[in-house]
């Protein structure tokens, strides 16, 4: 069972908008409990194409970033947390989780089969 922390850590906001690769790179090097703010504002409104709040390129990049964060959460590598800062102003935090215990190796049977 995971250790629960009493407070949500304060995520460090990146100086420039994060990319998918930068988010993955950060998570790969992060210790359990480390947090980063990957977006500030209202995510659902910002990635909505009908509202047109962002340039198309920025909107696609943000949608990819949000999708990647969701995928990392589904893989059990991170928690996703929102912190309300004001009216329609949220911090979207991603918190690194402890690495899951390694499952049975998927590649070793292939290596052994190739060596045989």
């Amino acid at each position: 069972m995971m250790d629960m922390q009493p407070t949500i850590p304060t995520g460090t906001a990146p100086a420039v908008p994060l990319t998918e690769a930068a988010l993955c790179r950060w998570l790969g090097a992060a210790a359990p409990g480390d947090a980063i703010t990957y977006f500030r504002g209202t995510l659902a409104r910002s990635i909505c194409p009908q509202l047109g709040l962002l340039d198309p390129a920025e909107r696609v990049a943000l949608a990819r970033l949000a999708g990647r964060a969701w995928m990392l959460c589904e893989q059990g590598l991170a928690h996703l947390v929102q912190r309300r800062r004001g009216e329609e102003d949220f911090e979207y935090l991603i918190i690194a989780r402890r690495r899951p215990r390694r499952a049975a190796s998927a590649i070793l049977p292939m290596l052994l089969a190739e060596a045989a």
Binding site: E20, A21, C24, G28, R102, A103, I107, M110
Partner: protein, 190 residues
């Protein structure tokens, strides 16, 4: 009815072949057990040329000598070619700069045969490599492992030309695998 070929007495040829095989072994530095093989090759070459021997043009010994000389030259060239294609060294070769020490003496028993081929012999490094591979293998989706195997033998371009997987899908999966590896802490070596 076909005329049966009249073969000459081969006794002089045996002596010539013996001498030529011995000379080749000495000049090429071949082990003694190669001598019988060389003798056999020279004799077979001579036998295949026997039908073209004409007794009216000269003695059989002279004919055999020329045939054996030519065959020996060809075999020697082939042996040199084969040797040049391999790395010409042995465990008994001396180590440069060290008097009386051979290559074999520089390899410990624990390192195994891999050390002789210049391969890494560090057991700890091998274990770490295996763990890295397992970590990477666990990060990659199982469905992508066949693609990884194919990419270890072919470039994405070649794989796409094969037509089994659309090129766009290959690059999409590569991007996805890179991101998954990054998230797992496995960074690119390049």
């Amino acid at each position: 009815m076909a005329q049966r070929p009249c073969f000459p007495d081969l006794t002089p040829a045996y002596r010539l072949v013996d001498a030529a095989a011995g000379a080749m072994c000495r000049s090429l530095g071949l082990p003694p057990d190669e001598r019988d093989d060389l003798r056999q090759d020279l004799l077979v070459d001579l036998l295949t040329r026997l039908p073209s021997y004409d007794a009216a043009r000269g003695e059989f010994g002279a004919f055999a000598r020329v045939c054996i000389r030519h065959a020996a030259t060809r075999l020697a060239r082939k042996a040199k070619r084969d040797r040049a294609a391999r790395h010409p060294s042995g465990l008994d070769d001396p180590l440069p700069g060290q008097e009386g020490v051979t290559v074999g003496a520089g390899i410990s028993e624990g390192e195994g045969y891999s050390a002789w081929c210049g391969q890494p012999t560090d057991a700890v490094a091998a274990l770490e490599r295996r763990l890295d591979l397992e970590r990477a293998g666990a990060a990659i989706d199982a469905g992508d492992l066949p693609l990884c195997g194919a990419l270890s033998r072919q470039t994405p371009h070649e794989l796409g030309k094969g037509g089994t997987i659309p090129r766009a899908r290959i690059y999409r999966r590569i991007t996805e695998m890179r991101l998954r590896l990054l998230a797992a802490g496995v960074t690119s070596a390049a």
